[in-house]
Structure formats: C-alpha cells, structure tokens
Symmetry: C2
Subunit: 210 residues, 2 copies
C-alpha cells in the first residue's frame, strides 16, 4: 500500500509528527483531534484525516487520535525507529549552526562527522565533533555506512561535492547551497535557500501595503 502514497502527503507527515511531539510534552495529554491539529497547523481537518487514512485507521469517531500511538506509527512510516547517522559537509557559520543544533537527535538523526576542505578549519572542534579533511570523505562515509548528508558549502563546489557524496553511497542530500544539483535516480535532494523562500513571498506583497 505504502508505495502509492503521494509525495505531497509524505511531505506533511513530518509536520504532523512535530506537532504531535509538542502535544505529547504537555502534562496529562493523551489524545488530540484532526480539528485541534488543523487549528495548530493551518491545514484543514479533512486533509489531515485523509492524509492519515492512507496508513490505516488511527482515530476513533468521538475519541480522536491517541497521541503516543500516532507518533509511533508515523515514526515507523518515516523510518525513524532507528537513528540515522548524518555527515555534514562545510564547517563555516552555517555548518557551525547545524552542528550545534540540538533538534536533530531527538527527532531521528545524529551528525556523526563534519568535513571541510579548508586546512584552517580541519582539526577544529564543533561541540563533540572534530572537523575532518574533506579528502577523507569517501573513506569515512563508506566506513560508517552513511546514507544522509547535509551540504553547507558554497554554490560553486556544490555539484562536485554532491557527486562525491553520491559515489560514496549517500542517498539523501539536504543542500543549503544556492544551486540546483543533478543526481542519479534513487538519490533524493531537498533544498534550503533562504532567498528562494523570501522571493516566493515577495510576489504576494505589494509595496503600498505598508
């Protein structure tokens, strides 16, 4: 069944999971409803029910969703029941911010290696990690069986770095470089470019709105 789920539905599941985890931390909280999630997420309750129905019957009429059970199921669906090791490429300001971010580990990921090609950065420590020479990339990724990488390098070296990651077995890349990457089938890329995101909003702003 699961391979027929539309990508757009899969895309919303982590957002549901994040909100459910927030609800779970509230004292004495056991259940929620599609209406409550809808209000918190700005997604219609019908959409939420429809999305979750792809994966079976989660809620009961009148009693809502059992939060802990739904978190467990979504974690299974998204393959978050074990922790994924992640390689971070780039130890600049952004690399530091990412390596210092505490939100990864409790949500299924742990940055296990940081690489940079700048000799001035190699050997430096970020938190508990030591920045390694990017020349060791392939050896290190293969040794640790790392399938996921975060790319925090300049645009002009992004494609060449991505090629090396893919050759070393990486299957999913989150790229912060402001450049489109070409990867073979079966490799997934997700982009984070603040300027693209801002430009997607300015279309809707009018200068006379002030």
């Amino acid at each position: 069944v699961e391979h027929e789920i539309p990508d757009i539905v899969i895309g919303r599941l982590p957002v549901y999971l994040r909100e459910l985890s927030r609800l779970e931390r509230e004292p004495d909280r056991l259940t929620t409803s599609s209406h409550e999630l809808a209000e918190r997420l700005g997604i219609s309750s019908a959409q939420i029910r429809k999305d979750l129905s792809h994966f079976g019957e989660f809620g009961k009429q009148g009693t809502g969703y059992h939060i802990h059970y739904l978190i467990d199921r979504l974690s299974e669906i998204l393959r978050l029941t074990h922790e994924w090791p992640v390689a971070l490429i780039g130890a600049g300001f952004l690399g530091h911010a990412l390596a210092s971010y505490r939100g990864f580990q409790r949500r299924g990921f742990v940055i296990t290696a940081v690489f940079d090609s700048d000799p001035a950065k190699v050997g430096a420590t970020i938190g508990e990690l030591t920045v390694r020479d990017a020349a060791e990339l392939e050896t290190a990724l293969r040794a640790d069986g790392i399938q996921i990488a975060i790319l925090a390098v300049p645009a002009d070296v992004a494609q060449a770095t991505a090629d090396r990651l893919v050759a070393a077995g990486v299957r999913a890349i989150l790229s912060y470089a402001p450049a489109s990457l070409t990867v073979p089938p079966g490799v997934y890329v997700s982009y984070s470019d603040p300027v693209v995101q801002l430009q997607q909003m300015t279309y809707y702003l009018r200068p006379d709105d002030q």
Copy 2:
C-alpha cells in the same frame, strides 16, 4: 492576469531566476533554452515553458530565451526591482550564519536589523550590524517600514515573536523555528526545518539499500 497564477508556479520562479543568474555570469552568454534549464534544474522543459507562458511570450521558437531580459521580467514579477529590508530575530549560531550570508543582497534583500532578547548578545556586532534589544522590535520595524522578517529563535518563543512581528506590520516571515505558526490572513510564512526535510526523505530510503 497575474493574480490567477498558481502558487506552485510562483514557487518555481525563484529557482528559474537563480539558474538564469548563474548562466548570465558565464562569459559570452546571451540566451538559453527550456531544454537547457530543464537539464540543469531537473524540471521538464514542457513545465518550464508552461510556467513562463503565464507571464507572456518570453522565448522565440528556435532562438530560445534571452537571459538578461528573462531575469528582468522575473525580477519584476517577483517584485525584486527594489531591495527589501529584512529584520533578523535571533543572534545565535543560525542568526550569525544568516547575517553573514552574502547571498541576500545581490538577490533583492538586505538584513538591516538584528534583534535578540539575551542581554549577553545585545550590543554585539555581526558584520556591520549591531544586535539590538528585542524590546525595541516594534519601534524599529515601524520606523523602517520593514515588511519581511527572518525568525531564528527557539520553538517555544516562536509564536509570541511572530505575533509581535505581525502587530508591527510584518507581512512575510521566514521561520527557522521548528514549530508551526498561526498568522492572520494576508501574512505569509515559509518554514525551514532541517529535520522535517530529512524526514521527508527517509521515507524513501530502505535500511537494506546500503
């Protein structure tokens, strides 16, 4: 005509613009084609032609798109013909990375103010900016007519900060806080959460893929 353009089309325009700007920097480069863009972006050439046709006739059969002209038109459509001032809220590691990022200015944005509520950070300098007390937020945003803000604060203060931004006239928020925000109609929010992006990809990975 423009108000009928689907959001998903608007969402792709900044990606076209970014790639066109890269092409424009190549020596002796004047034109491109939907096929070349397709290959570089991983979007079908038919889709690219259809997207751009919403805004008039850009290309000529056989000669392709004039890069400089297309950049100008996309910049107009996305309202990037003047520079937008942007407020950055949060001067942690991520705030530093964003404030130091040189990619904003040549793509239509300039961070003009950085705020933090931590007394230890207020008064520090990041590049050419001095971190200001978040208590001054409303006054400063109104004085400068700032409509766009980047939120780089912890999840538990994200909603309260967003409420203050909206009350001070902000119409577009790019949020790095791992939390869904509720905003009134006419205010746009775009999210950047690395974990959500990673979780959207793990669904497609199989543990035995290694």
